[in-house]
Amino acid sequence: MNSNFINSSIERTQFEPTNPTEAPTAKNVLTLAVEMGDLLLRNGGEIYRVEDTILHVLEAYGMENYDVYVLSNGIFASANEDRNDSCSIVRHVPLGSVNLDKIAAINQLSREIAQNKIPVKEAWDRFLEIKEMKMHPQMLMNLCGGIGSAGFCYLFGGSVLDSLIAFFIGIPLAFFLAYMSSKKTSKFIMHILGSAYVTLLSLLVMYLSAPVHYDKIIIGCIMQMVPGIALSTSIRDLFNGDYLSGAIHLLDAVLTAMCIAVGVGFMIAIYYFATGVMP
């Protein structure tokens, strides 16, 4: 499937201009609800929240006989099933990167829709604003990648020098991860290359006989890739009874952990062949 096509859902589901005084059409309401759910799911919301949001929006605008089923990479929803204007939407949502800002904003919007019943058009405009919300600047994110790596390196028993080195290894890593995600390359390749890069540089620093704990540096830096989000999302999905989605995220977590292990192990093996000594 063409990724352009997936991302252009807004163009695909045009919002019909309506008279604000009339009752909203089923198509418009369902489009709004599913688009909000899509954005939540895409940015790391758990299944229960997505379903809940869609149902609340549909209910707030007076839909009847609606139903929704959400998986971790798909949404199926219908409204006004037994009426002339019945309507349904199926949406494919690829697993994406997390954006908590958008989750919080959609949450706020859905709360306002449920409480104040703002007109559909206004809600749609608000939704578009949220969808276009800017990420924090890339430089800040890279810097934070470095700071995070340094911090975790220290927490897991590294010295101050280790943390400093983790900081400088972590910044390019954050940049690399962001670049690979934006190019939509395979997550496997991204994690294997990322952890291999971290291990290579850490071993290099040790090889230059700097007094460092290279293992702590590696651990600090791979924290940027460890599947903490997949793990906690998976558990919450399982807790809410969404077993299939929970299993998908759990598989994601296990595979990510394995990819990191492969990248690290690969580099250590190369180091062994190159120098003849185990690090």
Binding site: G44, G45, E46, R49, V98, N99, L100, D101, K102, I103, A104, A105, N107, Q108, R111, M135, H136, L140, M141, C144, G145, I147, G148, A150, G151, F152, Y154, L155, F156, A174, D215, I218, I219, I222, M223, Q224, V226, P227, G228, I229, L231, S232, T233, I235, R236, F239, A253, A257, I260, A261, V262, V264, G265, I268, A269, Y272, M278
Partner: protein, 148 residues
């Protein structure tokens, strides 16, 4: 001891805060998210200092972490996710993943299985911690922590 705990708390707060920014948390929630993660880590750290196992420390720490996220959610009018996702990172067994693959390459089966088991136990403890904290009814938390 007190000094170590303070340093650990501050560093955990900085690290978690940095991760909150990476995940694009809203600006107003950076500090609460960082605080959540730091509390989780400090519970883990102190439990370990008192000689508890990795697994048990992780369980209790995750429980408090999730509980605090759920308390902050109604207070800050923000979904639990915003606090829980960055906060969980200090407890994720990153070190376990590393050492497991290291001993795999080192061809040391005994250490490999031990570290692998450790990693799985910690992940399982995180799961249980979250589940226990989620089991507390939402209405109860809302009643206590709704700001009005």
């Amino acid at each position: 001891m007190i000094l170590t705990i303070i340093i650990q708390f501050v560093v955990a707060m900085i690290a978690t805060g940095a991760f909150a920014i990476i995940f694009n948390a809203p600006k107003s929630e950076w500090i609460p998210a960082a605080f959540t993660g730091a509390v989780g880590w400090i519970v883990f750290f102190v439990m370990k200092e008192f000689g508890n196992s990795n697994m048990f420390s992780c369980l209790i720490a995750t429980f408090f972490l999730t509980l605090i996220s759920r308390m902050l959610a109604p207070l800050r009018k923000c979904p639990v996710t915003v606090f829980l996702l960055p906060g969980i990172f200090p407890l994720v067994p990153g070190a376990g993943i590393y050492y497991t693959s290291y001993y795999f390459i080192m061809n040391d089966p005994k250490e490999f299985w031990a570290r692998g088991l450790d990693t799985f136990q910690e992940a399982g403890a995180i799961a249980l911690g979250i589940i226990f904290a989620l089991a507390i009814p939402k209405s109860l938390l809302k009643k206590v922590f709704r700001k009005n």
